[in-house]
Symmetry: C2
Subunit: 284 residues, 2 copies
DNA sequence: CGTGATCTTGAAGGGGGTCAACTGGAGTGG
DNA sequence: CCACTCCAGTTGACCCCCTTCAAGATCACG
């Protein structure tokens, strides 16, 4: 299963020479850059005042903010991927979601004064920093920035709703399928290939996000590969049968009425098991 | 189990004569009323312009907005309880959360132009209506209103994070315990009794929210009663042992190191089963 | 009081949690 | 370069908890 792909997959889009910048120390940028990142039209960009904005760079594993830390800023992801999670008192880490380019982080800290969730970078990353006082003080608000914040927060709220989707499905393979569909959609939204991408997070993170044991994630990946829906090599994923994956992801609790997933054929010795589960889903 | 309580519990805080108002048709109010609901100081209330605001009243089962409907407004709950949910293509209803007084609904619709989730009233309820254009247009924004919206949305985002808490726990009784703790905290925040309250939602809604079958919810309630943590009669709940409930709610996957819940004694014939589970959780 | 919805309880069967062992790649230092 | 360690990932085996189906009990409402 390994070795045939891998080198072909996209590498980090950050140049290594960025390492000359001290980790975590601000670099400066401009408001217009943030607006551009968020897809604001050029006209609005130019009409916005030329306000300086600080940028923070992080390396793999760096913490953007800790759980329980005093809320000092919200962040817009400029590049890279972040994991948002909460740690229970007994140390169990619950992953709430993964965030990428143009997404907002830390907004849920506003209402209580501290961050209810932590965020760490899963790869080299950078963010724009918006201090809390700029969000809360009514003075000198910029209309374009307001809209950007509103949009991003609305999206963040919506995405947290999708958290229920992946955790609600009964079958573990369905949870994984939904997760992959979500990822695929987001890749597409970032104008990257929706069929082939590298997972930024480990199996344990995925497991926590789906609400299953990490061994189950392995087994579910294996199942999707068996059904010819995926091709997996370590963290590299290629979706072979998007329709089949979508059909599987639509399976909910109880049985599902999937008329025919053409490509769900697999090895003869495992056909019976597949038929078993397929029948389970069909009798609607 | 039934009959000893019930009549003592709080009834709806809405007077019945409100029925003269046509359901769903606007009644008018003022911006200052919304600001007061959201806990804004009197000074800020008076400094705010006297803008009229429409109110919408709903009866049990009325839909505030449908999933997929065009986004026209966001809402602030003035009274009553709402259920937010999404319906999958096969008809399965996933409950994302329950919202009460001073909470915001519909904000996640802003980023896509339609409501990704539906909301229905679980009891007689009323909301303040804020049309989308007032949220998005930069003109004539009111500072106090902005802060209120920001706070409420941050809270909503934070609460969606708590969704993971209830769905992530392995044991069904732990999910229910966490859910009840959340409810209790919110009751307290509304200055109502945190130990004794009426569930506004049915078992099926709770089940969907917890990610388990509704029969399992029944069994879990029974277990909590058996362990003397709760007293349950239909939808009336009284928390008998808050510490025990909290301890149970802190149990996560794997075993938990609960030193001693004093009140987890129960009937002799069921002691063995309890010991079984208790041992499961203790061997940490 | 009847009717339907909600809730409870029982029984059976399987999916996934848990533990354990193995593999493989990355980093380290001899 | 190899030995060694460490961690991520995979695979297997066991068995309990929850889903599912079914039926009864209770509640809400006209």
């Amino acid at each position: 299963m390994a070795g045939t792909m891998g080198s072909e997959f996209g590498q980090s889009q950050f140049t290594r020479d960025a390492s000359r910048l001290r980790a975590g120390v601000g670099e400066r940028s401009r408001l217009a850059d943030l607006l551009q990142l968020m897809g604001v039209g050029l006209d609005d960009q130019r009409s916005a005042p030329d306000i300086p904005l600080s940028v923070r760079r992080l390396r793999t594993g760096d913490t953007l903010f800790y759980q329980g830390a005093r809320a000092e800023a919200i962040y817009f992801v400029r590049g890279g991927t972040f994991k948002s999670f909460r740690i229970a008192e007994d140390g169990y880490e619950q992953v709430l979601g993964f965030s990428g380019r143009a997404e907002v982080l830390g907004f849920d800290a506003i209402c209580m004064g501290y961050y209810p969730t932590a965020s760490v970078a899963l790869e080299e990353a950078s963010v724009y920093v918006l201090p809390m006082r700029d969000i809360l003080t009514p003075g000198q608000r910029i209309a374009a920035l307001d809209r950007v914040v509103t949009m991003a927060v609305s999206r963040a709220l919506s995405q947290r709703g999708e958290l229920a989707d992946v955790m609600a499905a009964v079958a573990a393979e369905v949870r994984l399928a939904r997760f992959l569909v979500q990822l695929s959609r987001r890749m597409e939204a970032c104008s990257q290939s929706p069929r082939r991408f590298r997972l930024r997070m480990g199996r344990r993170d995925i497991a926590s996000h789906l609400g299953v044991a990490h061994e189950t994630v392995s087994r579910s990946f294996h199942a999707l590969v068996k059904w010819s829906l995926l091709y997996v090599s370590n963290r590299e994923v290629e979706i072979l049968d998007m329709d089949g994956l979508l059909a599987l992801s639509r399976s909910t609790r109880r049985h599902v009425e999937e008329p025919g997933i053409s490509s769900m054929a697999c090895l003869a010795q495992e056909q019976s098991a597949v038929d078993q589960r397929a029948n389970d889903r069909q009798a609607a």
